[in-house]
Structure formats: structure tokens, C-alpha cells
Symmetry: C2
Subunit: 215 residues, 2 copies
Amino acid sequence: MKKAIILLSGGLDSATTLYYAKNQGYQTSCLIFDYGQRHRREIQQAIKIAKASHSDYKIVKINLPWQGSALLDKKIALPRNRQNIPKGIPVTYVPARNIIFLSFAASYAEAAGAQTIFIGANAIDYSGYPDCRPNFYQAYQKVLNLGLKAGVEGKTIRVKTPLIRKTKASIIRLGLRLSVPYHLTWSCYQGGARPCGVCDSCILREKGFEEVGRR
Amino acid sequence: MKKAIILLSGGLDSATTLYYAKNQGYQTSCLIFDYGQRHRREIQQAIKIAKASHSDYKIVKINLPWQGSALLDKKIALPRNRQNIPKGIPVTYVPARNIIFLSFAASYAEAAGAQTIFIGANAIDYSGYPDCRPNFYQAYQKVLNLGLKAGVEGKTIRVKTPLIRKTKASIIRLGLRLSVPYHLTWSCYQGGARPCGVCDSCILREKGFEEVGRR
């Protein structure tokens, strides 16, 4: 059975990606990061989603000894928006986050003999993070082709981004068809007892569910 | 003053790279990894080298919850060679090691406002690791250009590999000119009280010092 590593945050995009990969016939291993995020609630949700999908999972703890993001530093206020996400890269950007996550996924894939890495990156209904855009993933693929033993030996490890050009609504429609347990997903950056409703992540989620006629 | 992040292992290549960067006028911040390496002696040596060079340093602890390398798993024997390193990628290869190290360096550089990352990768007197070769670094540069906020904003963070095409002897000659404290460097993969003399790393070191007429 073909194996895949899934980067699983606990949010709705990565949960949909996990179920997409399962539906494609992959044996799925989830990689969950505890990187000091203020919304560390998502970690517990990611574990529940991995279990619900009958995937195994590993948690990698990353202690970044520097700051530079509102997601790592509670002293920086999160942007509060009403409807649309402003253009530009917001203060929630974490320096090199997906670059770091993918590097661990590459290591895990190679050690586990998986040929594929799935990441739920999206460049349509997103916060403008540069490491969510298609050309970044094309460049990253080349790094894996050239930098891994697997690549040199002709067993390329591929990074797949099935959601990258979908709207949030079409991601949710796909997920509903695949029976993604969206009640288990967590999106809010604040990470309080209930979603704040005003951070980028809450707004994008709400917009998506509204567009498909669910709340 | 221009700032640089230096990937510092405690070995002679990275120590030379650190002094090279200082000589080029950079304010140097060293990044040291505690990644479960069997030769963790090198970490203490890296700290001494950072201090000797009057650089600041940060240690990142990485707990890889998978194996796949003789440097992480003491049950796998290290290759014992007599003179030359055999062709091919040896069991000491750590899946995606430099990809992971560079990803943290990119995050640190961006958070600290450094424009340059130095890594002492070498593709001449080396163990055949694919993430030490020039075309890998060209590909990685593109990832940083496209995936970082700094890249998008036109403040590209550059990865420099000043030793990549040098022989071990010419690296040591350069280091001697720059007064690198080679007595503080540690190369042996075994990480015992004394260098084993038969691992790839010991052999390459000895060959280099012999060629410059020092032992």
C-alpha cells in the first residue's frame, strides 16, 4: 500500500487533505507540530482527527528560540477583521513555518519509506503567507529531488497540495463528500474556549461554511 | 553592521565558515543543533567555538521521532574505513538533515533581520551526502526567495557556502590564516573520549591536516 505523510494542524484544510489522501488509497501517517502556537488547542484536535481517520500520527515539538510572529507571542495582538482579509502578509506570519514543517515531513517520509507528502496549503482564501503559494511548492519539490537520498536514488518524494487553488467553500464541499469530521477541526488563532470569530482564520472558516449553506 | 546566521556543528568546516564570515565583516549569530546525534560532544565544542569567536549563539533541540541513520541510532555500526571514503551515500546520512537545519536558519535569519546564512557544506572531501552539493543550495535559495516574507518584500536572505568546492586541506589553510581555534573543533562521529580515527569524519580530518603538514 502506498504511504503518505500528512501535515495535520487540526484545522479544516489539513483535515480535508488527510481524508483526500485516504480516499486516494494512501496509508496515512500524520505529522503534528507543537511549535509554541498560541492556539495549541489545535494539537488536541489534530490528534482526534488522526484517530478518527484511523491514521497513525507523530508529534514533533519545536522550540523556536526566537519570536517574530503574533502566533508565537501573545503580546502581539491578532488582527481583528470584520469580513475580508486585508492584502499583504499579516503579523500572524511565522518565519519559515511551512519550510520547517516540510523539512520534518521530508525526513519522516524518507525514514518511513513514504513516497508522498500532503499539505493543505491554499492560495485562494488565505492570509497571504508566501509559503502557501504554488511557485513555492514547485521550488520546494526541487529541493527534495536534489537534497534527499531518495531523490538521488530515483525514488522521488513528492509534495502534493490538492487544495492549493480551491476556494474555502469548495474545500468544504470536497470534505463533506469525504465525510471529514469538521466538528473536530479547530481554526481560531486565539485558541480560547470558543472561536473568537474575528481572526483571519475564523473569518475564512465562517465564509466557507456560509457559502456552502452550513454554519 | 550586516548580520549573518552561521550553522555551527562544532566540526572544522563550520568553525572555518564562522571565522570566514567574521572576516567578511558580518556580525555572527551561531545556530547549534542538538538533534540526538551520537557525537553530542560536538555541541559543547560548538559553544566553545562560538564564545571564542565572540559570536552569540542559540541551541535548537530537535527530537526526531523516527530513526534512519547511524548518527541517530547507536545500534547501527559506523563505517570503519582505512583511507578513502567509499562512493555512495553512507549509513551516517540523516534524512533531510541540512534541509531541516537550513529551515531553522531561515526562520532565525528572518526573525533577527539577518540577510545571510552561512553553512560549511562541502562537496569535495565529503561523505557523499546529497544535501552538501551545489545544485541543492541553488534550489534551496529559490525556496527562500519564494517562501519567506523577506523574499517577497525584496529583502532576500542568501545562503552562502564558501567551502563547497574546496578540498579539506584548502579549508584548513584558509582557517589557519583566519586563526580558527581548531583545537576546539570535534569531528569524530563516535563521540567517545578520543577520536576513533576510522570513521569518515576522522579520516577526512586527518587527510586534511596531513596535506597541510600538520597533525
